[in-house]
């Protein structure tokens, strides 16, 4: 699929330009720039921000004048994985590693079109066992297998 302008590079370039400008202004505003002989903490970031903005514009401007291709955003895998990792982070401390593994496996498995419930359940059990054996007990990472406090 083609588009009349290269919207992908326009987007990328614009975001980078804004980010670079913000980075530079923040460094100027909040940190001491110092002088060449004795640079302050703001000097290097300010220069970097300016360069990012400049190169961002170099990506944005030519993209205005050329055709581009549309890319495919993998919405389903993206959402499934973001939700799965978020769920793991929420669950792991209050409920323990086993529950967190189960939600991670269960939710991230939704990223595929074909869902096989039995296989997912088996996978969750096996991975939870491995996680507890290797990480909680084997390596001594302070993650309790089971927990029930909020």
């Amino acid at each position: 699929m083609t588009t009349s302008r290269d919207y992908m590079d326009m987007l990328g370039g614009a975001v980078l330009t804004v980010f670079g400008l913000w980075f530079m202004l923040h460094a100027f505003g909040e940190y001491n720039i110092g002088e060449l002989r004795r640079m302050g903490p703001g000097f290097f970031p300010a220069v970097l921000g300016g360069l990012v903005a400049g190169f961002g514009a170099l990506i944005f401007l030519p993209a205005l004048f050329r055709a581009g291709t549309r890319v495919q955003f993998d919405t389903r895998p993206f959402l499934a994985i973001v939700a799965g990792i978020l769920a793991f982070a929420f669950v792991v401390e209050p409920f323990g590693l086993v529950a967190a593994t189960a939600v991670l496996v269960g939710i991230t498995a939704m990223g595929r079109v074909a869902i096989r419930p039995v296989e997912i359940a088996i996978m969750a059990v096996c991975l939870a066992a491995i996680a507890v054996l290797v990480f909680s007990w084997g390596l001594g990472i302070p993650l309790h297998p089971f927990r029930w406090n909020f």
């Binding site: 060449l36 903490p41 990012v52 190169f55 994985i81 990792i85």
Partner: protein, 510 residues
């Protein structure tokens, strides 16, 4: 013979039971992830970084290095059998390896790639052994200005010599440098870009950044792209008999392996270039010098062996600038550098003199690792062919789980899980917009070092920026960097004049 004494010390270190075990784990895992498409050595090394905090630095580096060169052995397996490169540098192996497999010569192709890998790897280690101490001596003469100029050159080279758009490469390096600024400024103690978040006062966690950009992002992009069925059905049975190459195979491969090694050793040691570029170069050279170029692409054995030698020689010589100058040539080396800094070892010219057990132990472990890989890849090739049949739908939840637990274990803090998620989303968006994340990682790790050298150089010169031109070492690095930038600018202007409607990045890296 100082060299022999050093090597003896190295082997003594490398043969200690712990180091031997970690070397084996490293090359085993390396081969494993190299064989499997959809997970690379960068993701694996970042996943295992937290594990290495508990072992001595030498042991940690032996294992991480093993993953790296192990992956460059394994990468060609999937390329030959399934036409799917397991690692980017193995993409060339598809060109002639897969046709060989279709002709029923998969066994020979696998055997010859292992031999070619071993030859390239071994010669690469010899070059590393001979040149590193010399380069370290040169490195001792470097001042802060020279270091700054060299890092600048390394970053520009890494950014512009990628397969994608050079402008995007440069911008990624710059964004990496920006991200590297987050945290406490070492000279003044000022908190920069932390916005009052206490977890950010030490900067972004390297593990979270690398795992997000290379692990999580890769999984999101791969879930529906890697077809499971294909691997289960297409993988042929490899018998020992089918692996025996003919005399002609040997004859055709001998010189290409030597040339490939030379090309690989050169590009591996240069900052910014690495195994992927080296293997493509080696292939192009073989095609040029061949008497019948038409055989290429139809299963020519030298089309497999030359790039494989190149890619493995590069994997070894890449350690030369990293260990002796503290300048990583690519993202994997940047991670190794990060691992060394976390372990409290400062890589650079003093490493060879002050920590000979680390340097020579690592070099000796490369020999052991390469021999182990020979065993892993020839008699045990059947295991890896089986591994290819593990469906990705089973693999990826496991990868994500290990990422989550691994990133948590660094600081025992849930904050790092959110961070890995953030960088994962960022990495996926970058991938969609065709920005390569590897230069970003390089910039992130070199950022604080560069700033420090810049400030020190300017302090020493009393604020006179001409110091970078007056010192011959720094001036020559800057000259090369300027040439690279001019070359990019020239390409850019020419592209705009032509105003070709073609997309800006014709070849995506992986």
């Amino acid at each position: 013979m100082e060299l022999l004494a050093n090597l003896a010390l190295g082997f003594e270190t490398a043969f200690s039971p712990t180091n031997l075990l970690y070397c084996f784990i490293g090359v085993f895992l390396g081969t494993f992830v190299g064989v499997l498409p959809g997970i690379g050595s960068l993701a694996t090394i970042s996943m295992l970084l937290p594990l290495t905090f508990h072992v001595p630095p030498t042991t940690a580096l032996v294992m991480l290095a093993g993953i790296y060169y192990g992956a460059s052995y394994g990468g060609s397996t999937a390329a030959i059998l399934l036409n799917l490169p397991g690692t980017p540098s193995a993409a060339v192996a598809c060109l002639d390896g897969y046709p060989m497999a279709k002709k029923g010569r998969a066994g020979v192709a696998l055997f010859m790639t292992t031999i070619a890998s071993f030859v390239g790897g071994s010669l690469g280690i010899i070059i590393l052994t001979l040149f590193s101490p010399k380069l370290a001596e040169v490195g001792l003469m470097f001042g802060p200005a020279d270091y700054f100029a060299m890092m600048l050159l390394g970053l520009i080279a890494a950014a512009t010599l990628t397969s994608g758009s050079p402008v995007k490469g440069i911008v990624m390096v710059l964004v990496g440098l920006c991200l590297g600024m987050v945290g406490t400024d070492v000279q003044t103690g000022q908190q920069r870009f932390t916005f009052g978040i206490p977890e950010l006062s030490d900067g972004f966690s390297l593990v979270a950044l690398a795992m997000g950009l290379f692990g999580v992002a890769e999984v999101i992009g791969s879930i529906n792209r890697i077809k499971d069925k294909r691997s289960a059905e297409d993988a042929p049975k490899i018998t020992f008999r089918s692996m025996v190459p003919s005399g002609e195979d040997w004859r055709r491969s001998a010189l290409p392996m030597a040339r490939g090694t030379g090309i690989g050793a050169f590009f591996g040691a240069l900052p910014g270039t690495g195994g992927t570029i080296a293997s493509f170069m080696a292939y192009a050279v073989e095609k040029k010098v061949a008497r019948e170029p038409s055989r290429f692409g139809k299963g020519a054995v030298e089309g497999v062996t030359a790039p494989e030698s190149a890619n493995n020689a590069a994997a070894q010589t890449a350690f030369i600038p990293t260990l002796t100058l503290g300048i990583p040539g690519d993202a994997v080396m940047a991670l190794m550098l990060g691992a060394m800094i976390i372990a409290g070892v400062q890589p650079g010219p003093r490493l060879v003199a002050e920590h000979p057990e680390i340097f020579w132990g690592l070099v000796a472990s490369f020999w052991i690792g390469n021999v182990l890989l020979l065993v892993l890849n020839i008699p045990l090739i059947g295991i890896w062919v089986k591994m290819l049949q593990i469906p990705y739908r089973i693999l990826y939840p496991a990868i994500l789980l290990f990422i989550c637990i691994g990133v948590f274990s660094v600081n025992n803090n849930v904050f790092d899980i959110y961070l890995v998620l953030f960088f994962g989303m960022l990495g996926y968006l970058l991938m969609l917009l065709k920005f390569e994340p590897a230069p970003l990682l390089l910039g992130f790790i070199l950022g604080p070092l560069m700033e420090e050298h810049l400030r020190r150089a300017m302090l020493l010169s009393r604020g006179d920026p001409t110091v970078f031109m007056e010192r011959p070492i720094s001036a020559s690095f800057l000259a090369v960097a300027a040439i690279l930038l001019l070359w990019v600018a020239f390409g850019l202007v020419r592209g705009m004049v032509r105003r070709a409607p073609a997309p800006s990045t014709p070849v995506a890296g992986a």
